[in-house]
């Protein structure tokens, strides 16, 4: 199932963080999301697991393995094929949105790439 609805930013960054060769556990995702968003998106554990639950239910991510060591439990997540498709669809959508906005700005002000002050 490919989600065509607009994706919320934390979800977008969680999926983006999981685009990699090796799976990530919870804290790894929090770190990766913060880094990928240049520090803008700081996930709290409670919120992130609500998102992970939703993404697991929708089949966009899967649990690759789990590690239970010393009274701790880490589950490692990867992107599923559906997750990859959903992220690709979102990227295409964001690109097309950005293009529309950029071309309108260009038409109106003959300028792109920043805000021009008169």
């Amino acid at each position: 199932m490919v989600k065509t609805m607009a994706m919320q930013e934390p979800t977008f960054f969680i999926l983006t963080a999981l685009v990699r060769a090796t799976p990530l556990h919870g804290y790894g995702i929090i770190q990766a999301v913060e880094q990928l968003s240049s520090g803008r998106v700081k996930l709290k554990a409670g919120t992130m697991y609500a998102a992970l639950d939703r993404l697991t239910t929708e089949g966009l991510i899967v649990v690759d393995r789990e590690e239970a060591v010393g009274g701790r439990l880490r589950r490692y997540y990867t992107l599923s094929d559906d997750g990859r498709a959903a992220l690709e669809a979102t990227v295409a959508r964001l690109q097309s949105n950005a293009q529309v906005a950029a071309s309108r700005l260009r038409e109106a002000f003959g300028f792109t790439g920043g805000v021009q002050h008169a």
Binding site: H25, G26, Y27, I30, K44, A45, G46, T47, M48, Y49, A50, D53, T56, T57, V62, V63, D64, R65, E66, E67, A68, G71, R72, L73, R74, R75, Y76, T78
Partner: protein
């Protein structure tokens, strides 16, 4: 156990048990992984997010159908339990039925032709049926604001009274001078239909927690004297408490059930939906019936008496069809849930690290 871990474990109790079993240790691990070195207590942001998300798992059902079902069932149960709350307060207050037979006969100046007891012995029977006796249907236009009657007690009829208006006026004067608080004596419509419901001259009086209703009937050829206790106070508060507790408990239980159903394999889910549908319809229809039967028709002179707050429960006893359908569906669904395999959505893809959860077949 370090303080930080203990604090996080305490915060995780905001989540329902089923979720803690699925995720609790994993979330705790992540929280501890993310903790600053030397941190001894959770940050305010972490604590708030854990509480909010925990409560969300307790009170926000996962799917639209889960939300619809939760709303219908929780509101139905809350309305019925508001009746139980009202009943509890009423039963505790235990208003005493006045015995004014002799007093009433003296007031009218003759022995009663007949008398009937309102069914006050069984409170739920009373709450269900008292309006059919008709004596309370014009309360709002009978000019009485000195306390409302509990519909339990005796009504006495005096037939073939030749001069009803005089009897009523004398009774009114007698009661006033005997220290009763009396309401205005309305003359009523002498030409209206001969009907117990439309009184031909009526007044209310009260003393020592007893209410009297003295009225003429049958085109002013008869007199009725009804004696009732004043309705107990706090019945509305009992109803509201019952409603709130019912809503809180049943909403939470239904949310749990919705989460649990979301974790059963698809064929079981379909069966559950099939079983649940008649119950959901019964909940909706019965709630409408309960509320609409209770609330007085705006075009009438009816008012909402404390006894009416017991109606939603009384209605279940008098007409048990809806409650039976709902109970049967609940039993069926719970046994399906108990028998169905649990879908292991958090089951690792790699077999080596199985959690022991059962996969969807």
């Amino acid at each position: 156990m370090p303080d930080l871990e203990r604090s996080y474990r305490r915060l995780l109790r905001a989540y329902p048990g089923f979720y803690r079993r699925e995720r609790g240790l994993e979330i705790l691990t992540t929280l501890l992984d993310a903790a600053e070195p030397g941190q001894v207590r959770p940050s305010r942001g972490d604590a708030a997010h854990l509480l909010v998300n925990g409560l969300r798992y307790r009170f926000a059902p996962p799917t639209w159908i889960g939300r619809l079902a939760t709303g219908l069932v929780a509101i139905w149960a809350a309305v019925v339990l508001s009746g139980a709350g009202a009943l509890a307060v009423w039963a505790l207050a235990n208003p005493e039925e006045p015995d004014l037979a002799a007093f009433s006969d003296e007031l009218v100046g003759r022995p009663a032709s007949s008398a009937y007891e309102l069914p006050g012995g069984n409170l739920l029977d009373m709450a269900y049926a008292y309006r059919t006796y008709g004596e309370f249907q014009d309360f709002a236009i009978e000019g009485w604001d000195g306390g409302r009657p509990a519909p339990m007690g005796q009504s006495r009829f005096y037939e073939q009274v030749t001069d009803t208006p005089t009897v009523l006026a004398d009774a009114h004067q007698h009661l006033t001078s005997a220290g009763w608080r009396t309401g205005p004596l309305s003359q009523g419509g002498a030409n209206s239909q001969a009907d117990v419901n439309s009184a031909h001259g009526v007044f209310w009086a009260s003393r020592d927690g007893v209410l009297l209703r003295v009225s003429g009937y049958d085109n002013q050829t008869g007199v009725t004297v009804g004696a009732y206790p004043i309705e107990p106070s706090g019945v509305l508060a009992g109803a509201i408490t019952g409603f709130a507790i019912g809503l809180l408990v049943v909403w939470q239980a239904m949310t749990w059930m919705a989460h649990r159903i979301a974790r059963t394999p698809r064929p079981a889910r379909r069966l559950i939906l099939l079983l649940g549908l008649p119950a959901l319809i019964a909940c909706g229809v019965n709630t409408l019936d309960n509320v609409l039967s209770m609330i007085p028709d705006p075009g009438s002179a009816n008012v909402l008496f404390a006894a009416d707050h017991m109606y939603p429960l009384a209605n279940q006893i008098a007409n048990p069809l809806a409650a039976s359908v709902i109970a049967l569906a609940l039993i069926g669904i719970l046994s399906l849930i108990a028998g169905a395999a649990r879908v292991g959505r958090l089951r690792p893809a790699r077999a080596a690290a199985s959690t022991g959860e059962v996969a969807e077949s």
